[in-house]
Amino acid sequence: MKELSLNILDIAENSVKAGAKLTRITVDETEESLILTIEDDGCGMTEEILKSVTDPFYTTRTTRKVGMGIPLLKMAAEMTGGGVEITSRYKDEFPDSHGTTVTARFNKKHIDFTPLGDVTESIATLIQGHPDTDFLFTHRTGDKTVTLDTREMRAVLGDVPLNSYEVICWIKEYLKEQYS
């Protein structure tokens, strides 16, 4: 992946596929480090599956539970001296608190650090593709915080779909203004 924002788009798709109602995407940046957290309330994974998600050869075409997504994120993080941690609570064991959290740590000073890239475009793409699930995006850099909560948008928009062209444009502008 050329940008970390593409990994974000890719990993968040897993949350949607796991039936998440809300996916929280958080980027925490300091001078030295970038910590990406993708936390969902989807169905979660059993311990057995959780153990194998970082193995690119785990996926079989018939089950397609995971694929290259996590291995690529892991590689990008480990190349910088960081790493990926995944915790998960499977719905059958945790009926009221299921979901998965993926945390990736990057050392920004490392020469192999992949730049974050256009995260606004990734968030807009996610919402365009999944207008019926909610996303909470937070990007903290030093004392600045950029945020977007689709639940707030939905409260105003009512039955207007979040993937309407006008709404997607608004999302991009709203985030761009916060970044500027």
Binding site: R64, G67, T125, V156, S164, E173
Partner: protein, 123 residues
């Protein structure tokens, strides 16, 4: 400054349109957005399609959506066009520029851009 209040204005503008739109979208454009598609450059292709479909005034006729792995990862980014009564068209190795041409010639003009299809593309 952009604010949530502006969404109310969008809602008011769209009130009548939403009712009109139901059931009229007869062309479905689908972009492969699995790991393979994303890594190959599907994100800007999708963004271009969304933008150009709206700019061409085709929003009532064309829906742009996303799907997972289509199964021929080496040809990503892939864009499939489904139209009632017609064969599916599969565009391969797409770019934002190619997407613009597909909107103009195929979605608007009704002519498949053969050189971008899986059958017509050259390595």
């Amino acid at each position: 400054m952009k604010s949530l209040a502006e969404l109310q204005a969008i809602k008011d503008r769209m009130k009548d349109k939403v009712i009109l739109r139901e059931g009229v979208n007869d062309i479905r454009v689908v972009v492969g957005m699995a790991t393979c598609g994303i890594a190959a450059g599907a994100r800007p292709v999708l963004a271009t399609l969304v933008e150009e479909v709206s700019a061409a005034g085709l929003s009532d006729k064309v829906t742009v959506s996303q799907t997972g792995c289509i199964g021929i990862c080496q040809y990503e980014p892939i864009v499939e066009v489904f139209e009632a009564g017609k064969d599916k068209v599969t565009y391969v190795k797409m770019t934002p520029d190619k997407a613009k041409r597909v909107v103009e010639e195929h979605l608007k003009g009704g002519n498949v851009v053969n050189e971008y299809t899986i059958a017509g593309h050259k390595e």
